[in-house]
Amino acid sequence: GCGGGGGDDSSADGDKIMIRIASDETSDTPCSEATEIFKKQVEEKSGGKMTVEYFCDSAMGDEREIAESVNMGNLEMGIISGCYLATYDENWYLVDMPYVFSDREAMYKHLDGEVGQILKDGLKKNSKIECLDFADGSFKVLLNSKKEVKTVKDIANLKFRSQESQMNMSIYKAWKSTAVPMGFSEIYTALQQGTVDGVDTSPLYQRSGKFYEVGKYYTMTNHQALLMTSIINTDFMASLPEDMQQVIRDASKEAYGVQERSIVKEAEEYACKVMDDAGCKRHDLTDAELKTFKDASVAVYDEYSKVVDPKLYELMGL
């Protein structure tokens, strides 16, 4: 609210280390809440030597711009979707593939294990970005204004707004549907005017973008993990003393790797409830219906087998 405690000229005194962390999310999402935890932990555990300033609501630009800023060192840290890291290291296409993780637990296991390590190493090698931890932005669901979607056949000839990434184009091509790339701020009007028929994002962002106001149906396809990452500039990290680096690593692990994951399920249920209450009709896929989506997605695995490390395919059992 008003005041909010900030506003001191902290950049002026040289001893204090300032960490600016940015995201494009509103202040009430699980990742934003986790960032408050991160801030508290870093400031406490560093004995006040480090301060954290959080800039949400796209104040520092959209996710792509935040990634670039962290890469260039104009921002120390960011919280962004993993899909934007694929332009730095192509292995990251893996986390964006449809139905690549069988469920939440399997996803955590892979990301905290060898798969996650390969992704982190590759990114650090190819850029000045280090991925600290993986948070859970929930899974994408399909919302549309035309009809109830039950199988992959139902979305043929529908146009879905999608994030600007090659992977999304590939997915919709494999599903015989059309993806229309556009920025987050244009979606609402496009959906209202029928420029697109639907939008694919997780319930968290279906809610924050208010898309349920203009779409009538949503289907729990859970087809793509909306993976969130905490990232930090490697030069900045290296400039810190060992003990301070550890403080940041521990706080990030606790905030994004543990706490965020424990609140996301609740947030997801709440988001679905908001959509239900607004009269948006929910459909849960039966196993047979789900299979139609999974079968149609195999073409995507083949397409990206050339750019993603074979070791990762092997680990994921693709």
Binding site: T189, K210, E213
Partner: protein, 424 residues
Amino acid sequence: MGSIVMLFGGMILLIFIGVPVGYAIGLSTICTYASYSNVSISLISQNCFTGLNSFVLLAIPFFILAGVIMGEGGIAKRLVDLADSIIGFVTGGLGMVAILTSTFFGAITGSGNATTSAVGALLIPSMEEKKYGRVFSSTLVASAGAIGIIIPPSIPFVIYGVSTGTSIGDLFIAGIIPGLLMALVLMIACYIISKKNGYGGSDTKPSAKHILVSAKNGIWALLAPVIILGGIYAGIFTPTESAVVAVVYSILVGFFIYRELTIKKLIDAIYKTAIINGITSFIIAFSASMCKFISIERIPDMICDAITSITDSKIAILLLLNIVLLLIGMLIDIIPAIIILAPIFLPLVESYGMSPIQFGVMLVLNLGIGFVTPPYGSTLFVASAISKVPVDRMFKTAFVFTGVLSIVLLIVTYLPAASLALIQ
């Protein structure tokens, strides 16, 4: 505090001694970054790219180009002839046409700059031909640009809705009455000024025959707005895409139906567009850097504290807030302003019982009035680029329109029904 003085003081000083507006913003931002922040100045160069890398902004050169081609290819002339045959006998009639066209375009684009560039390129030359003052015409079109973001759809409302969690659909509906009120007060002001200066108002009364002939001549021209509006509402294209459809359509009609367009005219139109875009769009990039600094320094928080420390009467706080927002609108661009201000000011007004919808309309209207307030008046710059009237010569007239639009602002601020009446 020093940083605020340096940032805004430096910018105002540099603009008024005559540094090109964009570079005045750029230089004051660079100096402030260097003196008050540990962020690398390279952020400015980064924003020179990222600040413009937006699909929504693409609509601006397209609408300018469409307007210029419509002018060269005979479409504009026929549209204006038709409008003139209907309303030309009224004092200030063509000015009113400009306001109404802006309202229509506003219902398409959702962007003030796009509205001003489309209507300006189309109508400023025609108004000049009919002996309207150039300063008056350009300022009027610039002011009417603000209607474009209040009448739905509106990009600023979407940004506000997303960053505060307010219903965007309700915001759109809430904008209808204030938007029409803006058109109304501008038309009244246009009538009074035109009466004083003798703009428009020929002796010939409109005749059915004359109107019919003009309508027949202008049928293809009339189809242009129909295709743009229809295309968007039928969901065939986005506003940015509609701008490019308008370009293609006006090229086709200009070449093959009216046969007034030539390859040479088309090339000249494209180059003219590139120049107008070149002297306006880069300002947005520097403005983006400036707003990042305002965010980093938490300047809106400081303003919020200052206001509440002065008074706790609701009427006074709302008045102060309007003044502050108008001042901010003088200095920075609307989209970044909403992003950094809305989340901080909304809780303040909510604690005094104002609905987030009403505040959204009030905020956007304030910043929309900022389109025509010096020194940073974005639609003023676009109108100036099109009409070649120096911006400083527009300030006085802009001040009149600002005052007139402020009446609507007061209504929106103190009469909740103005924005909330149409929402169930």
